[in-house]
Symmetry: C3
Subunit: 130 residues, 3 copies
């Protein structure tokens, strides 16, 4: 299980590549040496159309990424992987960040095993190929 929810303000429309960001996050997870089984990677974007940022008086924008994954991955892996992922997120928006007011954020949440239920045949697509 590895979920990511990417919320983004619609004043970025046409000015930022949001689907490219979803693809980037999925690719980073796929490349993490099997820590995130491919069939469990689910990245989605949520376009926000109503918001108030700071004093509500600027053309401020934000992109907020929430990762939800099962607990149990080693702390060192998490520190390294998500710091690296966030550097890639910053690089993805670097040009925009230089010319607009923009807040980027990433939060990692872990789901308790006891409260997690899964049923997923997407994994089969990858077992078949191997």
């Amino acid at each position: 299980m590895a979920h990511a929810i990417v919320e983004w303000t619609d004043n970025l429309e046409g000015d930022a590549d949001i689907h490219g960001l979803l693809s980037l996050i999925a690719a980073e997870m796929r490349d993490a040496d099997g820590v995130f089984p491919w069939g469990g990677i689910r990245i989605r974007g949520i376009k926000l159309t109503d918001y108030v940022i700071a004093d509500g008086k600027g053309d401020d924008a934000f992109v907020n990424i929430t990762v939800k994954m099962g607990a149990g991955r080693p702390a060192e892996f998490k520190a390294r992987f998500f710091a690296q992922l966030f550097e890639k997120v910053k690089a993805h928006f670097a040009e925009l960040y230089d010319r607009r007011y923009l807040a980027l954020s990433l939060y990692v949440e872990e789901a308790d095993e006891a409260g997690s239920f899964k049923h997923n045949n997407i994994h089969k697509r990858f077992r078949k190929d191997s």
Copy 2:
């Protein structure tokens, strides 16, 4: 308080009964011997229109259910109730699961009493009837 958020990918549109799933979850909660007061049951669906699943190359779909409820219900109740609920979710999608790549998931989160604030007159509809 019992909230459920059902995220679903829009490639399921016309192929799955999502509103029926919301109704099913609400009904299971209503039938739980008063553990979930009726007036606090709030189930919503969020249609996802932008996503990357696994390697992004299949016609993969997912339905992700997040339950948020107040802390304090007994662990045995929770284990039994949510395992049973998830079996009903699987049954709801069984025909679809046999012919498409689909990930179903359910996560249970509990809200801390100290950070919870409520004001709800829907409860009155049910007190009135009794």
Copy 3:
């Protein structure tokens, strides 16, 4: 960092001032003696179009506010600030609450520092002014 997500059922459309609620939450945060740096305040509304409330048979409505912020603010501050904020939320909907079935709720969640990553130049708008 101070995020708030305001989910609201679309049967409130035209009957409640949701954007005014977003502005109210942002204003309360700005007025909290610097506890919430202005540049980190990000309040958004999510209109719900598919839902089942209680027995699904009333014209019930709900507004659910989730605040996500960094951990570490004093417990007394949080208890006082969010109780006061919720009183303002209730006042904002008082007239509506008197004539419709409505559930208001507010939940406060804290993000672990270890899993939080930020890059935000909106803060500069306010440093510049000072």
